[in-house]
């Protein structure tokens, strides 16, 4: 089961934040085929948002073919977004943790580590595009 949270300052529409969190959980293997999404009532009584926002997010996910609603039962994940690459996550994460430790040791603050990572990431993505 996934637990939603909402960032009020991100500028991303709340329903889109819910969609992104489901997609991300699916990519990381935290949600797999057959898993149930929280009911609308569960989400709104935790996150304090409009039920229509949750319905809109679930409809959009359904339209994308990622989930299916079973009337009277709930909304279920119908696909798995992870692929063979999931196996590579563990070792890559280990390397990233080691890199973060080196960046810390070199005296970088959390903010400068993030800036360095994001700028390098963007530059590489643009190069390869």
């Amino acid at each position: 089961m996934i637990e939603f949270h909402l960032d009020g300052r991100s500028g991303v529409a709340p329903y889109m934040q819910l969609i992104q969190q489901v997609r991300q959980a699916m990519r990381l293997g935290l949600l797999a085929e057959g898993d149930q999404l929280p009911t609308v009532k569960d989400v709104v009584s935790k996150v304090a948002i409009n039920p229509n926002t949750v319905l809109k997010a679930y409809r959009e996910l359904e339209y994308e073919g990622l989930v299916a609603a079973r009337p009277g039962v709930g909304t279920f994940v119908t696909r798995t977004l992870t692929d063979e690459s999931l196996a590579a996550h563990g070792p890559l994460r280990e390397e990233l943790i080691a890199w973060l430790a080196r960046a810390r040791a070199a005296g970088l603050t959390a903010e400068s580590i993030e800036a360095l990572f994001v700028s390098t990431f963007r530059a590489r993505i643009e190069e390869s595009a």
Partner: protein, 296 residues
């Protein structure tokens, strides 16, 4: 298409020479969480009191859930109301309040009331006068929803609460409407209080409705334009300027336009709901009269 939960036509309320509400026309669809926003003294409480039948209008007509607000018990049973500052009886216990609610309301759901009181951790034997502000608001909300209304009308329900109590209040409110398909109208002088929950907005300024509509439509149709200073007469047709400010060489405009702005000489930005409301509030000082309706 179900009929509107609240339909008002030319609704006005006059106290002596002062107009508290002028020419208010609204058609609010069912199933929405409506934010009624405006500065203090704009007429929000007057409009809500007319909607629940506490005040007769001076002119115009209003229907709430298809009935007249002051038409009797059947109408009262459909509408839950929490007045400003969540009034309770200080000398009565929490349990007394629930007994009173059960006695007064034929459709009373005791299980729902008990469950809510339990979840909130309120002691039924506690005198209501000893409750914190947040607990008092929650008790008042419990009384309003245990009668299972189709429409909840809440006047400034969270303005005086701390952030955690606000969140808890809205959680309880959203849980109710998710389960019972009810509509809600809640007022606040701060739109940031309501941004997460409301999907329909009514902005009331100086006794008049300035703008009303679905939040999604409002956000799509309003833009902030920044660019070199220029004559506003050259704006594309169908563009309405809500707010403008100019410095030496630059103009910043808040505009409403149903078609996309493709004027390259402007930088076009999306507005947040808060910016949008503020633009209408400040319009009060620059243009005394305009009334805008975006009811689709």
């Amino acid at each position: 298409m179900s009929r509107p939960v609240l339909q008002a036509e030319g609704l006005s309320k006059r106290y002596g020479r002062r107009l508290a509400l002028s020419d208010c026309t609204l058609a609010i669809p069912a199933g929405r969480v409506v934010g009624l926003v405006g500065p203090n003294g704009a007429g929000k409480t007057t409009l809500l009191h007319i909607a629940v039948g506490l005040l007769p209008p001076t002119a115009g007509s209003i229907e709430v859930l298809g009935g007249h607000p002051a038409s009797g018990a059947a109408q009262l049973a459909k509408v839950g109301f929490v007045a400003q500052d969540a009034p309770i009886y200080a000398g009565l216990s929490v349990a007394d309040h629930l007994r009173f609610g059960a006695h007064m309301n034929p459709g009373w759901d005791q299980r729902l009331a008990d469950e809510r009181i339990g979840r909130l951790g309120l002691d039924p034997s506690q005198k209501a006068g000893k409750l914190s502000g947040g607990q008092r608001a929650q008790l008042a909300l419990t009384l309003a929803i245990a009668k299972l209304p189709d429409l909840l009308i809440l006047d400034e329900p969270i303005a005086s609460l701390d952030p955690l109590a606000r969140r808890e209040f809205l959680q309880g409110l959203m849980a109710y409407i998710a389960e019972h398909d009810a509509s809600v109208i809640l007022s606040s002088h701060l739109v940031s209080d309501l941004e997460r929950v409301c999907d329909y907005l009514v902005v009331l300024v100086a006794s008049r409705v300035r703008v009303s509509g679905e939040v999604d439509d409002l956000l799509t149709n309003h833009h902030r334009l920044t660019g070199a200073r220029r004559d506003l007469a050259n704006l594309p047709t169908g563009t309405e300027v809500i707010e403008e400010s100019h410095i030496d060489r630059q103009s910043t405009l808040t505009v409403r336009s149903t078609s996309p702005i493709d004027d390259r000489s402007f930088t076009v930005e999306q507005l947040t709901l808060e910016d949008l409301v503020l633009a209408y509030l400040s319009q009060q000082t620059t243009h005394p009269q305009p009334v805008l309706e975006t009811t689709p």
